[in-house]
Structures are given as C-alpha cells and as structure tokens.
C-alpha cells in the first residue's frame, strides 16, 4: 500500500480553542522548521493535530501518530516547565471531545469503595481542597535510546521530563470520600483516548498504583497546569499526577478510577511494560514474563540545561553551568560536575525543592584554563545516598530507568 492522503482529523477544529489564544500565531509563525514536511502525506493526521504539536515549541518529534515528542535538554532550562516545553507521550488517538466535552466531563470512582462517586470538574473544585504543587513528571523510558542492543519503544533520549505547577485536588481526599474498602489493593486508571487499531473495546493504556501510593498526599487529580487548563496533548481537561513513579501512572484524560482487590491488569500493566527484570540480565536477554516486576520509584537523575552541547566557552573565564536534579525517592542532596571525564568532581550549588517532588535547580561556575575540547558531566546524589552512574545502567528488555550522567560537549577557545 502506497500511502494515501486521508484527511480524517484526530481532533476537531473547535478543540484548538482549548489550546489558548496563541494558536493562530503558532499556526502561522511558530511552526518549527521541518514540521510540515514531517506530516506531508501522513494519513489520519489532520491540521489540528499538527497545530497542537506546533504549540510544542522546539520539541523533537519521535512519532506523529500517535504523538510522541521530547524536549531537547537546553530547552528545559526554565525552573518551571512551560506548557510549550513539556514532552508528550501518547499511546493512542486523542479523545473525541465532541462526545466528551469538558462541561459534562465526569470522574467516576468505583470498585472496592463504600460510596461510588460521580464527580464533575466543578464538584472537584467545590467539594475538595484545591492545592498547587510543582511536581516533575518523567516517562519511564526516558533514556531508552542509549541501550545497546536497542530496547523497543519510542527512542527517548533525555527530554521526556518536565516540572510544571499543577493545580487540582488530592487523590487521597477523593478516595477517602468514596471510602476505600479493606480489601482494596490497587487503583485502575481509565481514560477515553482511543486504541490505534480503532477497536473501541481496547484501551491504549490503563495503569494503576498500589493503594498505599494512591493515598500519598502528593498524588493529585489536576485540572490546571501553570495556572491554565491542561494542554490537550497533556491530558485536557483532567489527569492524574503520581509523583516519582513512571509517567504512565499519571493517566491523562482521566474518566474513572476503579479500586481493585488485586493488582490491576489493564493495558501496559502486564508483560514487559513498565517492568524490570527481577535479577540483572546480560544485554539482549529475552526475560520471561513471570520474571518482570512492576517499576515503582524512578531513580536519581539530573540534566545540564546550560550550556547546550556544542557550545563554545572562553578560555580562563568562568561560565555558569546549570540544570535540574530529581529523584523518585524524594530530595536530591548533592550535585557535582566534572570536566575531566569523572576523574575529579566539583560541588555545585543545589537549591531546595519548591515542595516534595519538585525538581531542584543547581549551578556551578566552571573555568577552562586551557583551550580545547571538554565534556561537562553532572551527577546527582539523592537522600538515600544513591548516585547516577557514569555509564548506561543495567540493560533491560524495554529500556527503562536509564539515569546515566548527562554529558555536554564544550569547546574552550
């Protein structure tokens, strides 16, 4: 089959309005170079999806159908990630908002609860305390690209991470209102994006977390990001934020949280998805399903957001190197940089997080005394004493949890 032009739109024009007033500007002026060619002739990718993607300024497109985009490290320099710089990891097609408009959007809490709930977004805002927290969200496969042999899935390099401010209510408060029964074991998250095959009975993704994690006061049901409605590509109008764990736990376009008396077995809960081998395996090993265990916390990690790799620095003058650090275990306690391939390390200044699970800013002044080629390496240490490795850590079939030290190339001239 040679490709055919098929203009079935993923999102209707009306939904562009959801994206905010800057849409028109984005369509005309802000379309990143190369985007139009990426989409030429792609079936089932309409102008509106393109426009939504164009709102993501400067991101690298890994796949247009379904949409998957990551942010180059130097574009993650802001302490608070703006909407146009937050990565996108989608498993299916965007929801049909004509069928599910925001005004009549409901969130159902059911399963092993004493009082099932059916809440509108207005109910959530009215009946529960509204909280604002800055929380990082990262795809479990961030860094997959660097595994050898390759691990299947989108080949994320560094930028499937971001840390905006979320506004919403505590998941805990909502679950307590519903009354979680004693036999509750796991949550099951459901949304209304659609499976790539078009099968209405198949979910593109439906993950969950143990009840204890769901009752952590930092898990949120959010309706705003950075004080504005959630971007469509990031879950408009309602999503979960489960801090410190793979981004897939933070279901987008959230419609239902079912409480289950067993570990949830929805799409991407089983098989190799978001699981690691129970024991270290040699690269390329096919690991049986029963030996794959569900990932919980993501490991300690950091990024160098300035200078950009490829930059030039003046000899003998200090330049500021800076970035962010985070850990699924909570706070990062130290950040060090090296310009001699890890032979020696220099301590950077590290800020405290805005709140638990916000990433932390760090900076260091570096002076290159001699002209030549350098690599700046950064390594974070979290409060459990764990540090980032200098090499790609243990190979695993799906390429998760790569927290290798970030390196950027700098030429001192």
């Amino acid at each position: 089959m040679k490709k055919s032009k098929n203009s079935k739109l993923g999102v209707s024009r009306r939904h562009l309005l959801l994206a905010g007033a800057s849409t028109v500007a984005c369509l005309s002026g802000m379309m990143p170079a190369g985007f139009s060619s990426v989409f030429a002739g792609e079936p089932e990718t309409g102008l509106d999806s393109e426009a939504l993607m164009a709102l993501k300024d400067g991101l690298t497109l890994l796949n247009a159908r379904p949409v998957n985009m990551e942010t180059p490290a130097h574009l993650l320099d802001d302490a608070i990630t703006p909407a146009h710089r937050l990565f996108v990891r989608n498993n299916g097609h965007l929801p049909d908002y004509d069928e599910h408009p925001e005004a009549s959007w409901t969130l159902t809490i059911d399963g092993e609860v004493t009082t099932p709930l059916n809440l509108s977004i207005a109910d959530l805002k009215r009946d529960f305390e509204v909280v604002r927290k800055q929380i990082w969200i990262e795809c479990g496969g961030n860094g997959r690209k660097f595994y050898e042999p390759g691990a299947s899935g989108n080949q994320w390099s560094l930028g499937a991470i971001g840390c905006p401010i979320w506004t919403g209510v505590r998941l805990k408060d909502v679950l307590e209102r519903a009354g979680v029964k004693d036999n509750a074991v796991y949550t099951a998250h459901h949304s209304i994006d659609t499976h790539l095959s078009g099968d209405p009975d198949k979910a593109p993704i439906s993950r969950g977390v143990p009840i204890a994690k769901a009752l952590d006061e930092n898990c949120l049901i959010v309706f705003e990001m950075n004080g504005a409605p959630l971007p469509v590509l990031n879950g408009f109008p309602l999503r979960l934020i489960v801090p410190g764990w793979p981004g897939s736990c933070s279901q987008k376009w959230l419609k239902r949280i079912q409480i289950r008396d067993r570990i949830h077995d929805g799409t991407k809960m089983t098989g190799a998805a978001y699981r690691m081998p129970a024991y270290p395996v040699s690269p390329g090993t096919e690991v049986p399903k029963e030996d794959m265990v569900i990932i919980h916390e993501l490991p300690v990690k950091s990024l160098i957001t300035s200078p950009v790799t490829g930059a030039r620095a003046p000899v003998g003058e200090p330049i500021e190197v800076r970035g962010h650090a985070w850990s699924g275990e909570g706070d990062v306690v130290a950040l060090e940089v090296s310009v001699d391939f890890g032979a020696s390390w220099q301590k950077a200044t590290l800020d405290a997080p805005a709140n638990k699970y916000a990433w932390q800013q760090w900076r260091a002044d570096l002076t290159f005394e001699k002209a030549g080629y350098y690599e700046v390496w950064a390594r974070a240490t979290d409060r459990t004493g764990k540090r980032q490795p200098s090499v790609v850590p243990g190979w695993n079939p799906k390429g998760y949890l790569n927290n290798m030290q970030h390196r950027v190339a700098v030429f001192a001239v």
Binding site: M1, N63, N68, E148, P149, E286, T309, A409
Partner: protein, 160 residues
Amino acid sequence: MRHIIIFAVVTTLLAACAPDAITNSGQQAAQSQSEKSELQQRREARIKQMADNWPGTVNLKDPFNALDPMIKPSSVGRGSVFDANDDYWGLPRTPGYEEVATYCASCHSLAIVMQQHVTPERWQYLLTWMLEKQNMPPLDPEEHALVLKYLTTNFSSGSK
C-alpha cells in the same frame, strides 16, 4: 614532528651525560625554551584549527550528532530515517519494504518502526505482540517471514 624528535634526543643526551649538561646548562635551557615556545605555538594553532572545524551548533534532528557525547553512532537505529515525503516513508528498498508499508503503517506511523534497533528475537516477539494484543490482521506465513526478515535486516542491533 621532527622538532619533537630533536627535542627528545637533546633531552635524552642531557640526561645521559650529566656533567656536560651542567657546564652547558644555560645554553641548553635557552635552546629548549625557544623550542618549547615553537611547540606551544604549533599546539595553539592546532587547537584553533580543531575549534574552527568544530561546528559548534547542534543539529537536534540529527540522530548521529557528533557534538553530543551522549550519542555513540553504534547505539542509534541505523536502518534509515523516517521521511514523510518519500512514497514509502524512507524505508530501505530491500525485499519486503512494500509489505512493511502495507501492514505496519495503518495503526501508527512507520516512525516507530524505523527508530528501532532491537535484537531479531525482539522483532519476533513484537510481531506476535502486534498480532495477538494489538489487533493486527494475520499475515500469511510467507509474508510473515518476509516482514520479519526485512525488519531484522534493516532495524536490528548489529545490522549494517
């Protein structure tokens, strides 16, 4: 290069006949000083040339970007790059490309296929996963074998 060798010979001689070296030390020091600064100049010129040759701007769309020390070419998918403007999305034209274009581009774009550099065993697993879990219509055995061969030839670790 020649200068370096001469410098090395002089230094070795110096070390070998120490008394001589002491008497001639002033002269020798002056000589090695000027050779040193010539060497220094050559080194500076080389660094400058190296810097001039260094592009200094990152092409973030280039998966083999030489400026990014995170990326070693061996660890990047090396089949070919997804091209929306090509009739077959940039698929390498080895036997099976039409079948892959037919069977693998209906649900998702071929970008997700062409990014991979997985083992042949993983490709086999992925094809089964696509059939059993993702509603992919079954292929006849011949086509199945051809598609698998194509994927492992073009988008596997160690190929090319």
